[in-house]
Amino acid sequence: MRPGWALRLLAFCGYALLLAPVIVVALISFSAGDFLTFPPPGFSTRWYEALFANGQLMAALQRSAILASVVAVIALLAGLPAAYAIARLRFPGRDAIAMLIAAPLLLPTLVLGLALLLALQPLKLAATWPGLVLAHSMVALPFAVRIMTTAFGAVPREVEEAAWTLGATPMRAALRITLPIAAPGAAAAGALCFLVSFDETVISLFLVGPRLSTLPVEMFRYVETRTDPLVAALAMALIGVALAVVLLVERLVGFNRALGRS
């Protein structure tokens, strides 16, 4: 049945609410004005220039990119074998382990951040790289395991069994056959883990210090204190990185394959 005009109107309102902030951020990042005035008094790239000239924010961007890369690698290294075990092996307590690995997603990030602060501060690990890496790896891990469990599950068991019958040990079969076939899923999982870490704000707020801060935290602090279009340019930079990562995955493996739909 074709949608009626009432449905179209209401759906338009819904989409307007969903997309308005992103569109406005994009426009206002090119504002020539001094404040978050909309419509902007004129257009320029002055706030992008200001962003690139801002040493503090650029350093935070670099730190966030490094942190997110390290987290993606760790989450994959820990998540791949765990996902393989959950998808392929039978062992007692498998369901309990799967639930434990998904558990961090059930708790509010605010509570996780507080808990990590209380745990890491006495160990002098708050506001340190190891502390941030541990915290971000913990929140990224469930995503990596979930995607990879699906990806490994989509590799037919018979293919792995065929490798065994041809003389491959279970370890070699997993590394030579199952892992390469599930590689698009691993690429998607790595990209998602990167983004989870790169955009993570709340937990980081508890764990950063004056000398070690991430870009989302810097942006949060900036919005708390000032309202000029620099922060819109910064928001665009974050969106740009997210988009670049998504496109990279698409380019490398194709989205449908990455999501295991091919």
């Binding site: 209401l10 759906a11 819904g14 760790i74 074998p81 382990i97 996780l112 989302p216 942006m219 708390e224």
Partner: protein
């Protein structure tokens, strides 16, 4: 290949980064804060008593619950026409329309709040329109108050509502509505008598999920409220980092977790009865 060995790295990360911290959170909620504000190791419910006995806590709880309920309701109600449109759209449009509905999830929450500040601020889009139309002479305050927080939270919850509804309504056969139409029902009647009752379980699921997410939301209340809006999440943050009263922060966090656990149990029970 041993399963234990394969699971070891993941379990180590979770033990160090999740189980130990959360257990410690529970332990610290049983400590006490001395009169000079230092934490004293103890095994007492005194902090819980202090938090629960404080009228401010109940005000926060009420604020949080009403904010989350209102925003979750609005997000679910606004997501419904979006998802119905996706469902009725030609197949080649469906992918793009779905992507547009959940795309905001890929954009950091803070970035979207910058957009709302530009739309709702004193010099923002809405006020410019209102003044341009001659409806107001003074800017209407839409940020740094509850109005701004409600709008921002509704928007940030909508993609989740869309996800739940897309999954829930996708299973619904569109021919049912066509059947109603052939039997003489108008669009409105079809919606009220066929679509809405069939969509009810999905709507309930969407509301409950967004409610739970809304209860623990922090970034939106903090930034859209401009420090003038207080909910449980902002209070936990302030207790931990401004007041540095760890036992109180931990106790409030434990109470929040308890409330979420109750909500989760209620949700499971409600979903089961809705499906039956």
């Amino acid at each position: 290949m041993s399963a234990a060995l394969l699971l070891l790295p993941a379990v180590l990360i979770l033990a160090a980064g999740f189980l130990y911290p959360v257990a410690l959170l529970g332990r610290i909620s049983l400590n006490r804060t001395s009169d000079i504000g230092a934490m004293e190791p103890d095994l007492t419910l005194a902090t819980f008593e202090k938090v629960v006995g404080d009228d401010f806590t109940w005000e926060l709880a009420w604020n949080t619950a009403t904010l989350a309920a209102g925003s979750a309701l609005a997000a679910t109600a606004l997501a419904l026409p979006v998802v119905l449109l996706i469902r009725a759209a030609p197949p080649r449009w469906r992918g793009l329309l779905s992507l547009m509905a959940i795309a905001p999830l890929l954009v950091s929450g803070t970035a979207r709040i910058v957009g709302w500040l530009a739309i709702l601020g004193d010099q923002g889009l809405i006020n410019a329109m209102l003044e341009g139309l001659g409806l107001t002479s003074e800017p209407v305050r839409l940020i740094n108050n509850w109005t701004g927080v409600r709008i921002g939270l509704t928007e940030s919850l909508m993609p989740y509502a869309c996800l739940v509804l897309i999954a829930g309504l996708g299973r619904l056969d569109p021919r049912l509505e066509e059947a109603a139409a052939t039997l003489g029902a108008t669009r409105t009647k079809t919606f009220l008598r066929v679509t809405l009752p069939l969509a009810a379980p999905a709507l309930l699921a969407a509301f409950l999920l967004t409610f739970v997410l809304g209860v623990s939301a922090f970034i939106t209340p903090r930034l859209m409220g401009g420090g003038r809006v207080f909910v449980v999440a902002t209070e936990i943050f302030d207790l931990a980092l401004e007041t540095v009263d760890w036992p109180a922060a931990a106790a409030l966090a434990m109470l929040l977790l308890g409330a979420l656990a109750v909500a989760l149990v209620l949700r499971t029970a409600l979903m089961r009865s809705a499906r039956a």
